[in-house]
Symmetry: C2
Subunit: 322 residues, 2 copies
């Protein structure tokens, strides 16, 4: 839950006067998003989200994220559309933070999505991958496989209180993953954080893909593997292969995977589980006790990693090779 | 900021199916309210606030609060209107919490209100006092003057780290207040917590009085004194007598104060400042470091108390005696 920077009514009204989107009707801090401060704004002309970017977002990356949302919206992807002020500016400053206004999207999210929704979101991911083909921005994935060793090295011994010997076991797993890491897979614009809370639905229709603040250029199949982790495990840690099959079939109905991509799915699943395990472990160790946002328990992703370690073929994820 | 109890989409949909207010279009936790969990809900039929009552609210008090909102709304006061389910129930259970749905009100709040708004909110308070005349619920003010000695006694020595000798000075002030405390003033339904963030405006019009969870039967003039504290001090601690004059004039334009009430204003201001000083001091001492809500600094109200200590007549608040 997140509102780190408060915006009062006078500040809001002064800010809104620079836009042509009407005057404020209601304004509430919302608890979505953990990195930034988000407000839901209703004006006389529509509904918007006002985001103030906090310290974990690199300001140099903001034009990439904003331009990408604008590009995707223009290509028909249901995502927030950046709103420009009267000067044509989207990225602005408010209360000493970079800030942007985007359109509000209807829809609700569900942390235990159905197989139907997995199919729909697989299609949506593929459509987003295709829609990014002529986007001319570039942002490397700051959390790709090349970052993981340093991330693990920065986690101190207190990690072992979560599980005895955790650090050395993680190092062993990581060495194995990096040894097998694929290269030369098709790449392009990836969301890189498409968890269930970042997708809005009405019924089984995707009405919104939100939170592009990890978007980057990376392997498409890696983006899919992130989703296999985020969408297909049940809350008890078990893997639901019906959901993974639906997710991949939905994806392939829009963008068929190459043989190389399909063969890489098991290692990509291990790698993406490692990525979220490591960032959650880092946050777990380094989050102050009085922080407003409680860190995720990294062990959920350790369990996923152990599952993937036992799967060696794409068929284990319900994916048929041709 | 507050969402203590999460409600997922399935839980929401099951809950909504018990009402006749349409299906969910969007659903966000909001950061307003510190005692309860609040969600902003848009359905196919309108906008609502869903509140889950957390441990600081006594469940026995909920019927009073809910019935009072219903009464006030029926009497034309702009306040959230409780929404009954298909069985006619307003107070329900969701995720092991008592819960209620109320209508959403447009408007924005401002922590540094203008004198015009002080006038408007004075009128609104008086209208609320009059509208409560035939309300048949009863709830004593659990935080009235009879509760303050015990509250102060429960604050340990760590209070003195805020200011050397604070506890003994507070005891002295409290003794003086209790000695002079008035009796036999006109009483009825009071909001008892009408701070600026509990009043929504569009321009200078009051569009919503919210958060009735301290409402009780108490002296009307005490309710006004709470507002003199909450609305008329500037952020630097100075008292804006133009605002207090407007607040009281607005109030009296709807419900004229008796001479006894006017004469009691100085002591009631001291008492209401003491009440918020004490509860904030208690919370300051007793809030865990990892709590989701940061306590207010009690010293803002200590400063107010010191101001009131130097004022002996209603004229000091810009109030003319007839």
């Amino acid at each position: 839950m997140a509102v780190y920077t408060r915006v009062n009514e006078d500040e809001l009204n002064a800010f809104l006067s620079e836009y042509d989107i009407g005057t404020a009707v209601s304004f509430s801090g919302i608890t979505e998003g953990v990195e930034n401060s988000n407000y839901r704004l209703k004006t006389t002309q529509g509904d918007f989200i006002l985001t103030l970017y906090e310290k974990r977002v690199n300001p140099d990356d903001l034009p990439f994220f904003i331009n990408l949302m604008g590009h995707m919206a223009k290509r028909g992807i249901n995502c927030p559309q950046p709103v420009a002020d009267q000067q044509g500016q989207v990225l602005k400053t408010l209360n000493n933070r970079m800030a942007a206004m985007v359109t509000f999207l209807d829809g609700t999210s569900n942390n235990s999505p159905s197989a139907q929704r997995c199919h729909a979101v697989g299609k949506a991911l593929a459509a987003m991958h295709l829609a990014g083909d002529n986007f001319d921005g570039f942002r490397a994935n700051a959390l790709d496989h090349q970052a993981w060793s340093a991330l693990l090295a920065s986690c101190d011994d207190s990690a072992n209180t979560l599980k005895s010997g955790l650090l050395s076991q993680a190092q062993e797993r990581l060495d194995g993953i990096l040894k097998e890491w694929p290269s030369d897979l098709p790449r392009g614009v990836c969301h890189a954080d498409l968890f269930p809370d970042n997708v809005l639905f009405t019924g089984d229709d995707v009405t919104g893909i939100i939170d592009f603040y990890f978007a980057c250029i990376d392997d498409f199949a890696y983006d899919l593997a992130i989703m296999l982790n985020a969408w297909c495990f049940e809350s008890d840690g078990s893997f639901n292969v019906t959901k993974s099959r639906q997710l991949v079939q939905g994806y392939q109905s829009i963008r068929p995977l190459s043989d190389d991509e399909i063969n890489a799915i098991p290692i990509l699943c291990r790698g993406s589980a490692m990525r979220f395990f490591l960032t959650r472990l880092y946050d777990w160790i380094n989050t102050a006790k009085d922080a407003q946002v409680r860190p995720h328990n990294p062990m959920d992703y350790w369990t996923r990693l152990n599952f993937h370690h036992q799967v060696s073929t794409p068929e284990g994820y319900g994916i048929n090779r041709s």
